[in-house]
């Protein structure tokens, strides 16, 4: 028993600073020593403590000291038993003391922790205006809060005042004095300079109460709590600012915020943006809780209704519908709402945001429409569009490939392009791919043979463009169409054309050699006839020879005309600058050699040219040669001075040529025939009947025009216009 007591007391001495009455320790010490000596040998006298009666007495005194109020009861025979009882009681008493002390200790620790966490220091100061007075009690947290070392445990009132922000000292002291004299307490805020840092004052809230003498009512002390509320203050300020910003947003945002009390059908709030969005002021919505619904156009009311059902089940909703603005405009709104249900699951409140999405909706609709349009264009087109990725696999194909190559897009997409290309076109494809990769975004035309689903080869013509770097495409876009028929037709045409060209060339060579071979002997005969003429004086022979010559010339001219005709019909028009003066000189000279003997016809030439006129020289010669030689050939022998007058006006925009003679003229009955092939006006005609036909053909070949006037016995005039192309 005494061992337990000793242990308890030892523990008490070791870890406690709570005051414990020193006399009690002393008495206990003796008691314990006595008990230790006595108890093992019952009935024997302890040398240190005397008799068991004395020990018993001491125990009771000790118990009394500890607050046990019962009186000792001494039973002579039961002395030892009584001592044991008293010792038991003492043990219990001691245990209580220790327990209470431990509880006090715990509470002190708690208090400290609370003060630290709350940043609140407590204090107790004497009620005096004396500046040199020191505090009764300051908690550790107060020291910490003021930035003072707790070991400097005595602070004067003056020292404390010095810690208060100079601007706040006055009213702080006033508060204190008013508490003493009038209110008995105060609750105020002021700033303190913590650790001398005046740039960052801390704000404290101080609540204090005056303790008064119960009898006199005089203030005895002031007990209070000082809390550092700087952080709280800052948080409050931030909240106020955030609130102001929110309010600004609420008032100025294009979106309309609203809250509705569903139970009372009351609009709690709606932001002023509703004026813009709906055309009605917030008050109108406040007054008429169904206004918003009535503004929804009839077709869309169902959507709003469905969203309300969702809300009543506690689900967030987002709905898009059209409303009629007060000005009659239809607007698209997107409304997001969040419901609040009460504990029984009933919808009591809705908060939401409406925003104007008219522009977005219209753009979407336009996009959908144009997409639809594009899609149907693509699907119904004879052209197909496919995309080939870097591995040469098809990643996209329009439905229209079905019409062209017979595949459905599902079976086509994912296959390799190389599977379909004709062997002979593989090189071309490799070349094209190289070009495509070298030049992104540059369209590359192609024409290849492609194996259709039924195994046939189809000629495809199209354009490929490299869009590898375009994230959406990531490949070559290829559009193409079936040109199998065209190619076949073109090949036929090309073959026919080649054949024709060959024939044409052959014909040209044929005509040339025929004309040459025909003319060469004629020239020889003519030469010999002329030579023979010069060798004889026999008039009969001379006349015969002259007739032979005429006949040969006629044949020669005929051959020349055929040659000209053939050449005009087949040769390309070759344009060079034309000098009419040199050209007419040549014609005049050549007429000498092929003349029909009418060398007495005067050839007058009037030329006005600036060298800018271009045309086909050999064809101009054909025209002029024929017209001039006709004029010479059909000169009127009855007239004393036969002439042919060639007038040319040649400029950059074209040439006007007039060939006018005073020859025999043409009767108007024949006018309509003179340009016909092989047409000759009379048996007296010396030509082949090809001349004028050739002139007309040639003029037409040069896109020109020819007109003529002629009166028998007066003369003929041909007027020709030839454009400068």
């Amino acid at each position: 028993m005494n061992v337990i007591l000793e242990q308890l007391l030892n523990k008490h001495f070791a870890g406690n600073d709570v005051p414990f009455h020193p006399d009690l320790f002393h008495e206990l010490d003796i008691l314990l020593n006595g008990a230790a000596a006595t108890l093992p040998e019952t009935g024997k006298e302890s040398p240190a403590t005397g008799t068991p009666e004395e020990l018993y007495h001491i125990l009771w005194e000790t118990l009394n000291l500890l607050g046990t109020e019962a009186s000792p009861m001494m039973d002579g025979d039961e002395t030892l038993h009584s001592i044991v009882n008293a010792a038991d009681m003492l043990y219990t008493g001691c245990r209580n003391i220790v327990a209470i002390e431990q509880q006090t200790l715990r509470e002190t620790v708690h208090l400290k922790t609370i003060q630290g966490v709350a940043k609140a220091g407590s204090w107790d100061v004497p009620a005096t205006y004396d500046l040199s007075a020191v505090q009764n009690y300051w908690s550790d947290e107060l020291f910490h809060l003021l930035g003072i070392d707790p070991s400097a445990n005595k602070i004067t009132y003056e020292q404390y005042i010095a810690l208060v922000h100079p601007e706040d000292r006055g009213f702080m002291m006033e508060e204190v004095s008013r508490a003493y004299t009038e209110t008995g307490r105060y609750d105020t805020e002021y700033r303190i300079i913590r650790g001398g840092d005046i740039a960052h004052p801390r704000t404290v809230r101080e609540i204090a109460e005056v303790i008064k003498d119960e009898v006199t009512g005089e203030p005895l002390s002031l007990i209070g709590v000082t809390m550092d509320i700087t952080d709280i203050k800052q948080a409050e300020k931030a909240i106020v600012e955030a609130n102001a910003e929110l309010r600004t947003l609420f008032n100025n945002m294009n979106e309309v915020f609203f809250s509705v009390n569903v139970e009372q059908d009351r609009t709690l709030q709606i932001s002023p943006a509703c004026e813009r969005l709906y055309g009605y002021a917030p008050e109108m919505f406040m007054k008429d809780p169904y206004l918003w619904f009535s503004l929804i156009i009839d077709e869309d009311k169902k959507k709003a209704h469905e969203s309300n059902l969702q809300l009543s089940q506690g689900e967030d909703t987002q709905v898009e519908y059209r409303i009629r603005h007060r000005n009659g405009q239809i607007k698209w709104l997107s409304v997001r709402m969040r419901p609040t249900l009460n504990v029984s699951g009933k919808l009591i409140r809705i908060d939401g945001i409406s925003s104007d999405i008219t522009e977005r909706k219209e753009a979407e609709l336009a996009l959908t429409n144009s997409e639809l349009k594009l899609r149907s264009l693509l699907e119904n087109s004879n052209d197909a569009i496919v995309i080939i990725n870097e591995h040469l696999d098809y990643t996209f194909a329009t439905e229209s490939i079905g019409r062209i190559i017979g595949y459905a897009t599902e079976e086509f997409v994912g296959t390799s392009m190389l599977n379909y290309i004709h062997e002979e076109d593989q090189g071309f494809i490799a070349h094209s791919l190289f070009s495509l990769n070298a030049k992104p975004r540059e369209p590359l035309p192609f024409e290849v043979r492609f194996r259709a689903k039924d195994g046939h080869w189809v000629w495809l013509e199209g354009v490929a463009t490299n869009y590898m770097n375009e994230a959406v495409i990531n490949g070559h876009i290829v559009n193409f169409r079936d040109v199998t028929d065209e190619i076949a037709y073109r090949k036929e045409l090309e073959d026919a054309n080649d054949k024709l060209k060959k024939t044409n060339t052959e014909l040209d060579r044929f005509v040339y050699s025929v004309s040459h071979d025909l003319r060469a002997p004629l020239a020889s005969i003519l030469g010999l006839i002329e030579f023979t003429e010069s060798e004889t004086d026999d008039e009969d022979i001379k006349q015969n020879l002259s007739m032979m010559k005429d006949s040969i010339r006629k044949l020669d001219i005929f051959i020349l005309d055929i040659l000209d005709y053939s050449r005009n019909a087949r040769l390309e028009v070759k344009r060079t600058p034309i000098s009419f003066s040199s050209l007419l000189t040549d014609i005049r000279n050549s007429l000498k050699f092929i003349s029909t003997g009418n060398s007495n016809v005067e050839i007058r030439i009037n030329i006005e040219e600036d060298g800018t006129f271009c045309s086909d020289r050999s064809r101009i010669i054909i025209i002029l040669n024929n017209l001039v030689s006709n004029a010479v050939r059909y000169a009127d022998p009855a007239k004393p001075a036969s002439y042919v007058e060639v007038t040319v006006v040649a400029r950059a925009d074209g040439a006007l040529i007039s060939v006018k003679d005073n020859g025999i003229g043409i009767h108007k009955d024949y006018h309509q025939y003179i340009f016909n092939m092989f047409y000759r006006v009379s048996e007296k005609s010396k030509g082949s009947g090809l001349g004028l036909y050739l002139v007309k053909e040639t003029v037409e070949k040069l896109n020109g025009d020819i007109q003529f006037t002629s009166t028998p016995g007066v003369g003929t005039e041909f007027k020709i216009y030839i454009p400068n192309p």
């Binding site: 040459h516 003319r519 060469a520 020239a523 005969i525 030469g527 060798e535 000498k592």
Partner: protein, 135 residues
């Protein structure tokens, strides 16, 4: 024209047609155009003659009438070969094309050749000879 005053000493005629060589010879002689006429029935023969006599100035013609349309080697082929002959030959000979061709291309091609000085159409007549003698 004075029959003793010839325009040229030696004139060569290159033509495959016998009638034309015959006519040319008659006309040239009659009009005292050439003292001696050298008819050649082909361009090859003409070239061999010129080549063989390139050192013999006396034997070389002063003037050559050259036909265009001849078998095997035509007038233009002759001109290509003629180009390769030594300067001594080309310096002495004047070439006149004599053809029945009326193709402007033929005339142009001939006139663009540096050795050709005239282009005449057949038949050869006294008037044309005058043009050659007095161009």
């Amino acid at each position: 024209m004075d029959p003793n005053n010839f325009n040229f000493e030696k004139v060569m005629i290159v033509d495959d047609a016998e009638i034309d060589r015959f006519l040319a010879k008659k006309v040239l002689t009659k009009h005292a155009f050439a003292k001696e006429v050298l008819p050649q029935e082909s361009a090859m023969n003409a070239l061999s003659y010129l080549s063989e006599n390139q050192e013999n100035k006396e034997a070389l013609p002063d003037l050559i009438f050259l036909d265009i349309n001849m078998p095997k080697m035509n007038g233009f082929d002759f001109l290509e070969e003629y180009k390769k002959l030594p300067e001594s030959v080309k310096k002495k000979c004047i070439i006149v094309m004599l053809s029945s061709s009326l193709l402007p291309e033929d005339r142009e091609l001939a006139m663009n050749n540096p050795y050709v000085c005239q282009f005449l159409n057949k038949p050869l007549t006294a008037d044309k000879l005058k043009d050659v003698a007095n161009p």
